[in-house]
Amino acid sequence: MLDDESVAQDEDDEDEEQGDARDEILTPGTVITSNSQWMRGHGTYVPLNTSSITSSLAGTLTRTNKLLSVRPLRARYNPEIGDLVVGRIVEVQAKRWRVDVAAAQLAILQISAINLPGGILRKRTETDELQIRSFFAEGDLLVAEVQQLHQDGAASLHTRSLKYGKLRNGVFVAVAGTGGGAGVVRSKRQLWTMEAANGGGKIDVLLGVNGYIWISKHIESDAAAEAAGINRMEESVSSQIYSSQNNHIDVTTMREIARCRSVILALVENGVKVDEDTVTRGYNEAVEFGRESMEDDIYLGGERGQRLAAALAGR
C-alpha cells in the first residue's frame, strides 16, 4: 500500500504520523512497505523470501514509532491484563470455572482467584472445592478483572476485590466489544452510578470492556459495616456476594433501567460508540423524548433510535 517514498515522506513529518494513510483501509495481502527499517506488528506478516511487510487483516494502519500494525475494522474482544470484564459461567470444572467473555477462548476463573466467604484470610479447603457450584454455577453472571494472559490467548480472571463478584438486581445486554466500530470502548471509567430520572433512584451502569454490559439498581453498602473497619466489612458483604436473590426493586427503578438498556441498544444499532459520555447524554435525551408523549414511551428502536443518535451527534 505504502510505497517507500510515501513512507519516507511520512518519516519527514513525524508529527503527522496519523496522516492520510491511516484513513485508508488495507485488505489482507496488501503490501504495506518493503522498507526494512519498519518493524511488523499485529495484523501484519512478512511473506517467505521477501522483506515486505504485508497486511493480514482488513483494517486501518497504525504506526507507533517504527512499529507498523493493522487494526481490524471488526474483531472479537481481545483480552488485556487489567480489563474489567463481565462474563458468564458456561462450564464448571473441578477447581475452576470456564467463563464466556466474548473472546476467542473461554476465560478461566480459578477457585483460588475468588473471595471466599468468611473473610479474605480464610484458607481454601476441599469443602469449598466440593461446593464449587454454590459460588458460581452455569449461567451466572459475574464481573471480574483480567489477571493474566495465557499463550493460547485465553485469559485468567480474578474477583479478589469487593467491587467484583456475582451480578444481581439488574439486566444484561451484550454489544460488540472493543475492536472497532460501534460498541464499548476502553475508557477511564467502565463503571459509574447515575441518578435516574422520574424518581428512579440510583442505577449502576457497568460497561465490560468485552462488550457485555450490566445495568442494575445501585445498592448502598451497609454504612454500619463500613464503620466497623475493613475486615468486618469483608465478612458482612460476603454474606451477599454469592447470593442470586434480588433485592426489592421499585417499579420506577425498573423502568429507568429498561430505558437505559434501550438507549444502549439504540446507540449500537445506529453505530455510536458506547461509553460513559454517550450513555449519560443518550439517557438524558431519552428522558426528554419520553416527556413528549403522555405514556412515556421507553422503546427506542427504529426511527426513535435514529432520532436519538442524531440528537447526540448534533451536540
Binding site: 462450564e91 454455577a137 452455569e138
Partner: protein, 286 residues
C-alpha cells in the same frame, strides 16, 4: 418426507391391494353419545426390562375391524447422563414416538418421519410440564412410545384422507400411555397428565356442526376442527394444547367450548389411569 438416506425403489411400480369396503353406510356412523369416549384398556408394567412401561388399547367398535388403536410405552431411566453431556440441574427428558411399519395402511419406514417427530415434540411438551424435574438432577430419561396398530388401517381412511385428524387421537393416546408408564417408573410428577381429544364435526348436510368427544374421523362426514389437550386434572392446568381446523365464521368463541370438551375427554381417561395404577399396586402388594 421421503427416506433420503437409502435408495428407494420406484415409487409407483406396485400397488397395494384394494379391498372394496363399500360405502360409508349407516352402520359405520358414530353410535356413541357425543360425550362418550371409547372404552380403553390400560395396563402398566408390561415390559419387565424397562424402568416403567404401559400398554394402552382403545377398543374398536363391536364387530368392527380397525378403528381401535394399540400403543405401548417404555420408560428408561432416570439414569446418569453420558460424561460428555453438559451439567443439568434437571432431569433431561427425551421422547420418541414411532409408528410400527405395519401400523397404518400405507407402510411406514423405519426412520422417523416428520409427523412422528412432530408428535414427539408435542409429547415432550405435554410431559415436561407434569414432571418435577429438579428432583433428578444430572440424569436423563427416555420415553419411547410405539404405535403398534393405528386407526387408519382401513382403505376408507386413505381414500378419505382422514389421517391428518387421526394424528390428534394418536397424540392423545401417546400422552395417556406415557403418563401411566412414567408413574410406573416412579418418577415424580405434579399430577397425572392425560390426553383428550374433541372435534367439531359437520352433519351430513353440512349445515350444523356439533362437538363430539374422542372423534373417529371415519365415523363422520367431515371434521371441521379438532383439539387435543394434555391436562392435569387436580391442578386444572393444560400442559399441551394443539388445535387446528376451521371454525365456522362468526362464533369465534367456539374454541373455548372445543377446548373444554377436550378437557372433559381427558378427565375421562384420567380416571382410567388412576384405576389402572392402583390395580397394579394392589396386585404387587398381594
Amino acid at each position: 418426507m421421503a427416506d433420503r438416506r437409502r435408495v428407494n425403489g420406484p415409487g409407483s411400480s406396485t400397488l397395494p391391494p384394494v379391498y372394496d369396503d363399500g360405502e360409508l353406510d349407516a352402520a359405520l356412523r358414530r353410535q356413541r353419545a357425543p360425550d362418550a369416549i371409547r372404552p380403553l384398556y390400560l395396563k402398566t408394567g408390561v415390559t419387565p426390562s424397562a424402568s416403567g412401561s404401559a400398554y394402552l388399547e382403545i377398543e374398536p367398535r363391536e364387530g368392527e375391524h380397525g378403528s381401535g388403536m394399540k400403543l405401548t410405552c417404555t420408560v428408561h431411566g432416570p439414569r446418569s447422563l453420558p460424561r460428555s453431556a453438559p451439567f443439568s440441574p434437571y432431569m433431561v427428558l427425551s421422547t420418541h414416538v414411532k409408528f410400527a411399519p405395519f401400523a397404518t395402511k400405507q407402510r411406514r419406514g423405519y426412520l422417523r418421519d416428520s409427523s412422528e417427530k412432530d408428535l414427539s415434540t408435542h409429547l415432550e411438551t405435554a410431559l415436561r410440564g407434569a414432571l418435577i424435574a429438579d428432583r433428578w438432577p444430572k440424569s436423563g430419561v427416555d420415553v419411547v412410545v410405539t404405535i403398534i396398530e393405528g386407526e387408519s388401517t382401513r382403505q376408507d381412511a386413505v381414500e378419505r384422507r382422514v389421517e391428518e385428524w387421526d394424528v390428534m387421537n394418536v397424540l392423545g393416546g401417546c400422552i395417556t400411555v406415557a403418563s401411566a408408564a412414567i408413574a410406573d417408573a416412579g418418577i415424580d410428577c405434579v399430577d397425572t397428565v392425560s390426553g383428550g381429544v374433541a372435534a367439531l364435526v359437520a352433519s351430513k348436510d353440512g349445515k350444523d356442526a356439533s362437538i363430539v368427544l374422542d372423534p373417529v374421523a371415519l365415523e363422520h362426514e367431515s371434521i371441521l376442527a379438532a383439539c387435543c389437550v394434555a391436562y392435569l386434572p387436580n391442578r386444572d392446568e393444560v400442559t399441551n394444547l394443539w388445535f387446528k381446523g376451521q371454525l365456522p365464521s362468526p362464533a369465534s368463541c367456539n374454541h373455548q367450548s372445543l377446548v373444554s370438551r377436550a378437557v372433559q375427554a381427558s378427565r375421562g381417561t384420567h380416571g382410567l389411569i388412576s384405576a389402572s395404577l392402583s390395580e397394579a399396586i394392589g396386585s404387587t402388594q398381594n
